[in-house]
Symmetry: C2
Subunit: 150 residues, 2 copies
DNA sequence: CTTAAGTTGAAACCCAGTTGCAATAGATTA
DNA sequence: TAATCTATTGCAACTGGGTTTCAACTTAAG
């Protein structure tokens, strides 16, 4: 069952519309999936979720929409240490960047915001005269639980 | 022409041998390539270089050796923002971690060591009780030259 | 030298992501 | 509202980076 077009646009959607991009039914669906995701989703998961709202949607449209969102800086692409396969994960770009920690034993992903991280980016921009558009800090290791139960 | 086996072993090589791993001719060749690389190389580049020393070497052996080195923490795997294709790049793990900056316009890769980065990792280990095994900070943006000539 | 386990190359395979193209659907204009 | 123009879509074929399988071959130990 297609989404009603009366649906209130989310932030991603209004962001794209304000940039003069065509708002298609498929895009609206994919944006909704990304916007309401509770964890980091890969392209296949996004496709599956999107198909529950609009069964006709094709995976190529998911990939195209993800690149569009990436190009516009509205989502971030993550590797999450490529713990199984080479796929990438996506999340709405947050107001403030965060770090991703991937446990190499249990696979759990944790997030962490840090003032030190913000300062580090500031240092890079100043000392390297490098204008940062996107940044990704991912660490792999062992979480507290996995270290305990060992 | 195969490398003479009298060749003095590099750090990677002696590290692997000290861990009781079999030192084959192919591994020696690949280790030499990685060890003497002047830039970040992807698997295909490593294969090409290795074949110049030992033409019979197969790409599957390159991939297997790279995973071996990764598993032993002797090399780091980088995305470098996946600026063309989905390939990965490799470098010998340095004594001190560094940050990679990829210019989205000219493609240049710069490296940067920072005390703030070391402190940030310390903070993560302490405050998140997360034992870091590997860390990767990559930023994409615009280098000084590209910002000037625009 | 013999032996046993680890490693190799070749070929087939896998999977995430991309490309080409004709049909379709947004947005704009009249 | 209808015509128009152009961006977007779905499908199918394709690409590229990396992996699996397995028989033949090395390596290191004894
Ligand atoms: Mn990657
Ligand atoms: Mn996140
Ligand atoms: Zn864990
Ligand atoms: Zn540049």
């Amino acid at each position: 069952m297609p989404l009603p077009q009366t649906e209130a646009p989310g932030r991603l959607q209004s962001e794209l519309m304000s940039r003069g991009l065509r708002m298609t039914h498929q895009r609206r669906t994919i944006l909704t999936v990304v916007e309401t995701a509770k964890q980091h989703l890969d392209a296949a998961q996004i496709l599956r979720q999107a198909r529950r709202l609009d069964p006709g949607i094709d995976r190529v449209t998911v990939y195209r929409t993800l690149s569009l969102l990436k190009r516009h800086g509205l989502i971030d692409e993550l590797d999450l240490m490529h713990m199984q396969g080479e796929k990438h994960f996506y999340e709405r770009r947050p107001q403030r960047d965060h770090i991703h920690m991937a446990c190499l034993r249990c696979g759990k992903i944790a997030e962490f915001e840090s003032d030190l991280f913000d300062r580090l980016k500031g240092q890079i921009q100043r000392e390297c005269r490098f204008h940062i558009v996107v940044s990704r800090l991912e660490v792999g290791g062992y979480c507290a639980e996995c270290r305990a139960s060992n």
